[in-house]
């Protein structure tokens, strides 16, 4: 196979106003404009979206799963960051 493949793009869709864009999958396209149109044709055939982002897959940098312990576990013992850590007297409202 001598011919180069169209680059791969990651697709993110906002399903309705007020929500975040969410990753839905990927597709191939020759350029960004085509990637957006392809995303529209592939991933919004049933009114699934109101806005589309595409990112060329090679531009996505991901954290390493091996770092998971170092990255996420230190947050475990910081329970004082959560509101439920604090006791509020019953008579206090709106807090």
């Amino acid at each position: 196979m001598t011919q180069k493949e169209w680059p791969l793009w990651e697709v993110f869709i906002r399903s309705k106003q007020g929500l975040d864009h969410k990753h839905v999958g990927s597709l191939h396209a020759a350029d960004a404009e085509m990637a957006i149109q392809n995303a529209r044709d592939v991933y919004t055939r049933r009114l699934e979206g109101v806005s589309i982002w595409v990112v060329e897959s090679t531009n996505v940098h991901a954290s390493n799963p091996d770092d998971a312990a170092a990255f996420y576990e230190p947050a475990n013992d910081k329970i004082y960051r959560h509101p439920t850590f604090y006791q509020v007297p019953d008579s206090i409202k709106h807090m």
Binding site: W6, Q37, N38, D41
Partner: protein, 268 residues
């Protein structure tokens, strides 16, 4: 509740007025045109150059099919003889079909399909813009819905013309050949038939001179970016809108109408 009707909802239908009824052949022409083009595009399904474009072409085909159904349903209403959308689509012969010649041309390679689509999209989009604010409320409602689809189509086909024109040697050769073969069918779109002339005189159908200018401007812009030349001095074929078709339509209808012709009068 989903209904089968693809016509945009309008005020409760009174019997069409006499003025409205005159629109029947024009609405039928629009219906035939959208159906035939949808049919051609649907022939690509499963055979596209890449999966992503297979989906794109099927989407466009579905848009045209939906639009065709709206026009047929409205045409049936205007005619008032109890014929249905399917009667109109499946039980009329080639000489009764009113689509312009361009849309019945075979798919050929991807370049032919793109050029055919591009030329028609240029006309279609600008026509719908006019119909949308035209005097007939039902036609305006259908156009209002369809013009959004057409805006996408014209973007899609324009970009492909540019890619193919300004792509590789081969794509350029193919797209030039396609333009050379199809250009002769472009004039018919904006050359009014006798029926259209009468309706234009009555103010029911928009003037084509303005549409032709808009078309030409868009084509010039896209061809320039595609580094393609707009053909000049081409003899323009016509006749489709009067039922005089190229030989391709007969075969297309034989396939399209096969079931209804083989098993008349049944529900499917």
């Amino acid at each position: 509740m989903m209904t089968d009707s693809t016509m945009p909802a309008q005020a409760p239908a009174a019997a069409p007025s006499e003025t409205q009824a005159q629109l029947f052949p024009f609405v039928l022409q629009l219906a035939d045109t959208s159906l035939i083009l949808a049919h051609r595009l649907s022939e690509w399904c499963g055979h596209g150059p890449i999966l992503e474009q297979d989906l794109a072409m099927a989407n466009i085909a579905l848009d045209f099919l939906g639009e065709a159904r709206s026009y047929y349903q409205y045409a049936a209403e205007l005619e008032g003889k109890g014929r249905t959308e399917d009667d109109l689509a499946y039980l009329r012969s080639a000489v009764e079909y009113r689509n312009p010649l361009l849309v019945e041309q075979p798919n050929g390679d991807f370049a032919v399909t793109i050029v055919r689509q591009f030329i028609y999209d240029c006309f279609h989009y600008h026509l719908l813009l006019q119909l949308k604010s035209g005097p007939d409320a039902q036609l305006a409602a259908i156009a209002e819905k369809s013009v959004k689809e057409a805006a996408y189509h014209i973007k899609w086909s324009s970009e492909w013309v540019i890619r193919l024109g300004d792509g590789t040697e081969e794509s350029r050769r193919r797209v030039e050949k396609a333009i050379g073969n199809l250009w002769r069918y472009s004039g018919e779109l904006t050359t009014p038939s006798a029926t259209e002339q009468a309706l234009q005189a009555a103010g029911l159908v928009p003037d084509y001179a303005a549409i032709q200018q808009q078309m030409a401007a868009h084509i010039a812009r896209v061809f320039e970016e595609a580094t393609l030349a707009v053909p000049e001095g081409v003899f323009m074929q016509k006749g489709g809108k009067d039922g005089r078709h190229t030989e391709h339509l007969g075969y297309l209808l034989a396939e399209l109408q096969y079931m209804q012709r083989t098993y008349p009068g049944l529900e499917w």
